[in-house]
Structure formats: C-alpha cells, structure tokens
Symmetry: C2
Subunit: 259 residues, 2 copies
C-alpha cells in the first residue's frame, strides 16, 4: 500500500533562538503518523522570505504532503503566505473566501478591517482558505505540482483545530490504514545487551518498527522502554503483529528462547 | 562583527512519529544564541543512513557550525557516526581515544566490551571524541571543509553535558558578544493594532530583534508578550539598546508619543 510522505516546515525565529519548543511538530507528526503518513523530515526556519521559500520549495520537491506552521499573523514579520507564493511561483492575491472569514471575525467584534487585518486575507493564487475556528488568520490549502501544501498558523490552539480540518480535506489521499503501537518497559538490562535481542525479535516482522528508548543509565540503573509499531489495513492485524513481536521479545529476555 | 551560522540536525524516528518533542533543539538553539551564534535551520530526520548523510552534507554546505543529536547508542538503528562519515567522505575507524573512554566506562562497571559496546568507539577518520560524562557513547568533534561538526547523543542529560564541553572546544570561533533580552506583556491591545507600533519602535534600533507572541485571543482577550533582543560586544550596550526600544514602545502604547 502506498503511504504518502510528508515534510513539516515550522517557521519562526522564536524556535531558532530556543525561546519556545517546537510542540507543533510533535502534534503534526503524530496526527500524520496515525493516518498512515510517513513524516520524513521536519525543518525549522526563521521569519525570512528566502529561508521559508527555499524550505517550502525543497519540501514540495520531496513530499506528497507539506505542512507549514507559523507566520500567518498581522505583524510585518508574518510572511509565510508571501514566501509560499514565491516558492510555487504564484502571485499573492486577495482571496475572496479568506476575506469573508477575516471580515466576519472582526465584524462580529465590532472592529474595522485595517491594513494589518486585511493582510491575513491574502493567499497564493489558487489556494483555498482553511477556516480558523479559534483565531483571525485563515490557513491555506494548495495543490501544487503533485504536492498537497497545508499552511497553518503557529499558535498551537489554532494550529491544532485547523490541522483537523486540513486532514479531512486531505482524506482522499490518505491510506486506509490502522496503526497499532504497544510498549514494554525493561529494567535491569543494559541497552547494549538488549540490542541483539531486539535484532532477533525484529526478524519476526519485517514491516514492524521497533525502537528502544533508554530512560535510565546504560549500566548502573538501566530502564528501557521498547516500543513496537505496526500498520495494516485493519486494526486487528496491526495489533497482532505488534503483540507477536513483543511476546517473542519477552521470551528472549527471560531466556526462554531455545534457538 | 562576524557571527557564525549554525544548523542543528536532530536524528531519530521517535521525533518523526511525534512520540517525543524535540527539546534538544531548544536547548542547543538557546545555548548557541547566547554565545552569539545565529541558528539558521533545524532539521529532523529519521534513523536512515541516506537521510542523515544528506542532511549533514546540506548543513556542512551552509553552516559554520553543525550540531547533530541522536543515533550514537549501541543498537543497530544508531547509525549517525556512519552517516556523518559518509557525509564527509571519510571512513569510519576505531578511534583510540574513544575506545579508551568506552573501555573505561564498562571496565569501571565490571563489564566486557561486546560488539555493540565497541561500536560506540568508531568515529569518522580525523574526528576527536567528545567525552560523555553521563553515559557510555562518546560524541565527536570534526573540522571539515570550513565547518565545525559536533556529534552529540540524543539522551537529553548526556547531550546537555556534552554540548557544554563541545562549545568550550569551539570557543576560538565564537564571537565576543553579549546578548541581552527583555520583554513586556501587553494586555488589552489586539496584535493587529500593536503591529504598527512595533514597526515604529523597531526603527530606533536596526539590529534589534523585536517579536510579539500572542498568548490570548486576538480580540476578545488579547495578551501579548513583546520580546526585544539585542547584542553588542559589551553587555551594557546590548541592554541599553533593548531598554531604549522597550521604553519607546511603552510610550507609543500609552499614546504618549506626539510625532
């Protein structure tokens, strides 16, 4: 089954100076993964036109789905729509549907459209606005050169609400896939001793993803979370693959394996 | 004053499936920023040789300093050293100093070197090991084609301890610079109304970095953190630049500005 590949592009100087942690990437990666999409790369760039346009252009060149966050607000450093337009060689235009959304947002609150507010209704030519149920700035959905570009704001509450809307919009390209994941915590075995057992267990399921996460100390107090993930068209099959691997791994650790 | 540019490359499938949040990037970005380094890009890739090697090669092509995290452990999916070696066209070799570090770590705990443990002593030819005061796997420092590559583990406690050691190693290329930052919180002014005032205040200091962070709701309950950052060879000058901009901004917000 074909699984779409995605790149995530997070935009904002605050991420590059370490003022905030990129939780948006975590949320997007998890939501995409649970829908059968393989996230191949996350890129963080600052609020610079060239840097954003370059990263979006690179992403479009590699990924079926590109999700950007940040840079949609009313301030001058919010230039993502302009940069995305540059990346896809489209002009930035006043989008009628986006204008209605922005106008409705401010009218409801008895406020006029200023230059800064109007700015949020400009999208690359050909884009569809993604409605913002939480804030003022609409996002954008763009189908360009075989890639599906989703442009979302950086404020997490807005981003999360709009990601759901955007993923519904993309439902037609998402695989019908159930992803299952289970884990066990192993104490008292150094990761370097566990490694050959993981290698052995992984041979039971060629398309399972097995990963050990050391939580304690390699030798003095080893605590290791082992996670196994598998996908299949139906959830029972996916879950069964995971449990088979975990069961065999437990046997290996207890030394109950005779081969 | 020349300020080195950095790229951060974080390696690990767990980041791309949204299981963990990339706090390593935040810590590295902040530490580099406070030392006058400009972080231009953060890239997250999975545990795949080609993806890691490609991202390191791209980073070396753009940045003076490249910091990688993740993929240094004893398991088979820890392939960062191999990928970095491929990226810089160097062979992976058993490094004598790294071997001593790994041997000492396990000997102290009464354990022998296994294949998995020995693996952690292989570094690209020409690399210097970065000692790991917390865990088993050494990092690496590599000077290649004008870039300074620092290879660190993904476990945050190990990464943080080794980042400090690596930055001391890089002291000779870091600028003598003091970075100052102050912020104010503004309530009751929509970000779209604040934007023109920020634009005006920013004209007072061409090399200051001013950024508004909306915390509340654009209209119904606006709360905005405004942060101003500036750097100068001495801390007094840096701080004075910041305070000048913030003072003027406060005047503008209170309407006390007559021009």
């Amino acid at each position: 089954m074909y699984r779409p590949h995605a790149w995530v592009v997070n935009i904002g100087n605050e991420l590059l100076i370490g003022r905030i942690t990129n939780t948006n990437a975590t949320v997007i990666a998890r939501e995409l993964m649970l829908r059968g999409v393989i996230v191949k790369r996350i890129v963080v760039v600052g609020d610079y036109l060239d840097d954003i346009a370059t990263s979006v252009r690179e992403a479009v060149g590699y990924a079926d789905i590109v999700v950007t966050t940040g840079g949609l607000g009313p301030t001058d450093d919010d230039i993502t729509m302009e940069a995305v337009a540059a990346a896809i060689n489209a002009p930035l235009v006043l989008n009628k549907a986006a204008l209605e959304m922005v106008e409705a947002f401010y009218r409801k609150r008895g406020l006029q459209l200023t230059r800064e507010r109007l700015k949020m209704a400009y999208l690359p030519l050909g884009a569809e606005p993604v409605p913002n149920p939480v804030g003022a700035a609409p996002g954008a959905y763009i189908n360009y050169s075989g890639s599906h570009i989703v442009v979302l704001p950086g404020v997490p509450s807005e981003m999360e609400a709009m990601l759901k809307i955007a993923l519904n919009r993309l439902a037609h390209i998402l695989p019908e896939l159930c992803v299952a994941e289970e884990g066990i915590t192993i104490e008292g075995v150094p990761e370097s001793s566990l490694a050959p057992l993981l290698r052995k267990a992984s041979k039971l399921c060629s398309d399972c993803y097995i990963k050990s996460h050391p939580k304690g100390h390699e030798v003095d107090n080893p605590i290791i979370d082992v996670k196994v993930m598998a996908s299949a068209p139906d959830c029972d099959t996916a879950r069964s693959k995971v449990l088979t691997v975990l069961g065999y791994l437990k046997k290996l650790i207890q030394g109950g394996d005779s081969d």
